[in-house]
Amino acid sequence: MAQQHGIIVLFDVENALRTRSLDGNTYWFDNMKFLGSAGVGTEELVTIVPGTYFLDGSQATEQVLNWLPAALGSIPPTVPRNYLAEQARAADRRALEELASFNAEGGATEAEVKQLQQRVSKRARKPVGGRGLTPTKLLDVTGKATSSPDAYNYPAPVITDITGQAVTEKIIYPAQYGSPDMIYDGWYWAATVDTSRPGVYPYTVHVQLHELVERNDELVWESVDLTCESSLKITSDPKRNGFTGAGLGVLPLPPVPAAG
């Protein structure tokens, strides 16, 4: 059975937000280098999709592509998504415990309260209307709650669409799928491939980054929509029988089997 293809797109989010472009800030990977993908680890990936067909011409192996976006300089996507929410809750719990201990001690000093405020950290509001993130605590890149808006962990980039020649010519059929896998946080983009028309087909990935912005004295997440490109190289080769090299034949049993 052919494997599913994982295409990982790594975004240098800080520089992409600064230049408002993914050019020079995007690195593409897949796990098919050994079968002929070119440019793995660079901005110019050509993903090989080695299709196969049966001798009657029908498509044999189903090739499936999966896309996983990641942000350079953020907590890696291998850390489960609900981790951030868990960390935020844990920080709140500790703060509540500390608050309780202040009451028991008969009040707190100003310094202690300030420390507590920092522990609780800032919250960022989602923008009114439209897509946005739910109100969350800020975490820094080591997973701790932070009150500093300069060192926050970038939220995972979100793929919002896949378009381009590979889609319009119906080489790939991309769609969002639900998954219980925590790494994909419930949604991921995947596509089946029609490998009957060999060739090189470019496609465009639409990505939404989120930037923390200060407006009217509060922190707000704003989304920034950008695009980046890659290509698929479709090949197609005939399936052959592993024993005969051609069609179905008799199993090549020896006249006398080996002693068991």
Binding site: M1, A2, Q3, Q4, H5, G6, N31, F34, L35, G36, I48, P50, T52, L55, D56, G57, T61, N66, T235, D237, P238, K239, R240, N241, G242, F243, T244, G245, A246, G247, L248, G249, V250, L251, P252, L253, P254, P255, V256, P257, A258, A259, G260
Partner: protein, 178 residues
């Protein structure tokens, strides 16, 4: 009697590559024969077959993004293997195509090919300049001269990705004519 018996080869590729063995639970063989196979779910599977059935081996991997393909299936002989010259004299092949590294070719029924397709002597795994073992279909017909009640063991070689550590094999599974 079923027309077809399917043997599913399930591999934990990362475990197999890390430990460099298909044992230790990294390989599980399961078939759907109704004639009484033994040791289902282990590398020691003995698949019960009947002459005329088509037996097909299909690899499946636990982690869908790691590559597992069958590199070879070679039945182990209790006799010294005859040279290709001896075989050619004994079994004049009409349309047999040599498969590199496998048991010497046996006579085959002529394949039904799509119009215009020609069986060539080219390596059947060649794809775009790379070896792609996904191109191979591992199936064959159980012959009528198979001795009943005797397990015919085979070496199953699996290719996990590529490179010096990528091919692992076991010699324990077998087919048994009931």
């Amino acid at each position: 009697m079923k027309d077809r018996v399917s043997i599913v080869v399930m591999v934990d590729a990362v475990g197999a590559l890390s430990e460099r063995t298909l044992h230790n639970g990294n390989l599980s063989l399961v078939d759907d024969s109704t004639a009484g196979s033994q040791h289902q779910g282990t590398p020691d599977l003995v698949t019960a077959v009947v002459p005329g059935q088509v037996v097909q081996w299909t690899p499946i991997h636990i982690d869908v993004q790691t590559p597992v393909e069958i590199q070879a299936i070679e039945f182990l002989s209790g006799l010294p293997v005859p040279s290709p010259a001896d075989l050619a004299a004994a079994y004049p092949a009409e349309s047999a195509v040599p498969v590199p590294g496998a048991v010497p070719p046996y006579p085959v029924e002529p394949a039904v090919l799509a119009a215009g397709a020609v069986p060539t002597g080219v390596d059947a795994t060649s794809s775009n300049g790379h070896e792609n073992h996904d191109l191979l279909v591992w199936e064959g017909v159980v012959p009528y001269d198979m001795t009943p009640g005797v397990p015919y063991r085979y070496r199953l070689s699996l290719k996990l990705h590529e490179g010096p550590n990528s091919v692992l094999h076991i010699d324990s599974p077998a087919l048994l004519r009931v």
